[in-house]
Symmetry: C2
Subunit: 295 residues, 2 copies
């Protein structure tokens, strides 16, 4: 259906139109967040998932339109909007429009946002990766997945990992800096393995991922350990909002904001699909590479 | 929350950003369309409601992003996308992105679109109406409301009125032509009376509407008659996709596409609220002026 050059063959997270990067992500109750998640963190998350898509294209978040299918619970909505407003402020975005509708009682809330960001000098797509590129990861993976495990075991859990699940922080500054040297780039929100596969496929190449190289936080290691199982959880759990960059060694020369790690986790090579290694030995890919938006 | 000048204080149907008019409308199953409506007409309607918002600002529809919360019925989705594609083609729009998610079984579908149109030389807001302006209506009102009545009485009903409900045709060309002379303009999708009240309120004025002057189609008159009750249905039923224009007599000089009626239906005067007349006599405003997006 899409013939517009802005669409990039719908092969990307975002469209590029007249110097604007435009993206839309929707989250639904019970699918992308837990019904018990505090409403303000749901508002935060809706802004964060969309700002992260912009960060993945090196764009500067600026404006947002909302699509809120609600259920007539005023207190929930007020808290949701509080969290949303906080996040928009932190990410440099302002609300310019949208639509709010009321669903019948019992329907899951469906919360969407269209986010617009100013494109930087370069807007890397998913498809620009080259054979021989290093795959770089900015940020860490696994925190949110470990936090979700904690919440499922104990709905009152809290701490670094739960915060990572509920109030993710998109790497906006890092994305803008990395974009200039990236051949291809995207944010990791569905799981590193599935998103790396998508980048490799769009680039017509194969992704090799070294699980031993994955950057894990101290909190993650404390909760889940450091072995292969823990690393597979981190590589497939999703909700990370880290950035995956395909590029040469010059990526390493970019000075990132304090606290943002950048490590090499693999490379792109001729071929297709995905291969994994751990401690130098090949590892079969797990059946589930991450979160699929559709069955 | 909205401080961005593009937002127009969220007082409008659409934002204006860098020469783009941007709008988002969401429709939900059982709220904005009937669960039994053919899937292709639901796709058409989603594109039409958004293109109509652009028409109401005199913009030329160009691009769209989708937000589809579906339920895993492939045949329904394929037909939906067929109807959507048909409408996008007819309205001159191409799909540039979006998000599709799967809802749990039994959840109502929630279907959103962000539409982008090129602004014309003038982008009339809701708030530009002046005291003494004539209120002009381009198109007719009531067909869709009469069609919905027919469908509720007989789900297999068909004809002009049912078509008006299921496959509305936004007045894109007329909107672009009218925008240049309009002081204020908007599309009538929630009902003439409620939308006229909104335009008057945004302009800080009172709307006087002459029900006797409402343009009714032949099919509407055949089905519902021509009396006060029929005219109140037409004025409050919604889903009309007609255009309401506030402006001077020069609006009448605009040459509209063949078949598009333009009639004077009232005026803006000092004060607030709404007053109605029929055959020269004042008529009390009905309790329900149209469709409210929220309770």
């Amino acid at each position: 259906m899409a013939a517009h050059p802005a669409a990039r063959n719908l092969d990307d997270d975002a469209a590029l139109l007249d110097g604007w990067v435009i993206t839309h992500d929707t989250i639904a109750e019970g699918v992308h967040y837990l019904p018990d998640d505090p409403a303000d963190t749901v508002g935060w998350k809706l802004a964060a998932v969309n700002a992260s898509d912009l960060a993945g294209k090196g764009a500067k978040p600026e404006a947002a339109l909302l699509s809120l299918a609600m259920r007539g619970d005023g207190a929930w909505e007020a808290a949701f909007l509080d969290g949303l407003e906080q996040a928009l402020g932190e990410f440099g975005m302002t609300l310019i429009g949208g639509d709010t509708i009321a669903l019948p009682d019992g329907s899951p809330r469906v919360l969407g946002m269209t986010a617009l960001g100013r494109a930087g000098a370069s807007t890397p797509s998913r498809s620009g990766g080259k054979a021989g590129d290093t795959l770089w990861l900015a940020g860490t993976v696994g925190n949110a997945a470990a936090g979700l495990h904690q919440l499922k075991a104990d709905p009152s859990a809290s701490g670094t990992l739960v915060d990572a699940y509920r109030k993710p922080r998109p790497l906006i500054e890092a994305g803008a800096l990395l974009a200039s040297n990236a051949h291809a780039m995207m944010d990791i929100s569905d799981g590193l393995l599935i998103d790396a596969s998508r980048l490799a496929k769009a680039s017509g190449l194969k992704a090799e991922i070294h699980l031993s190289a994955l950057p894990l936080s101290e909190a993650f290691r404390e909760a889940r350990g450091n072995g292969l199982d823990a690393r597979l959880l981190a590589a497939t759990g999703g909700d990370d909002y880290a950035l995956l960059v395909s590029g040469g060694e010059d990526v390493l020369g970019i000075s990132l904001p304090a606290g943002t790690r950048l490590v090499a986790i693999g490379r792109l090579v001729e071929g297709g699909g995905l291969s994994l290694s751990h401690d130098g030995a090949e590892v079969p890919a797990p059946e589930r590479l991450g979160y699929e938006h559709r069955a």
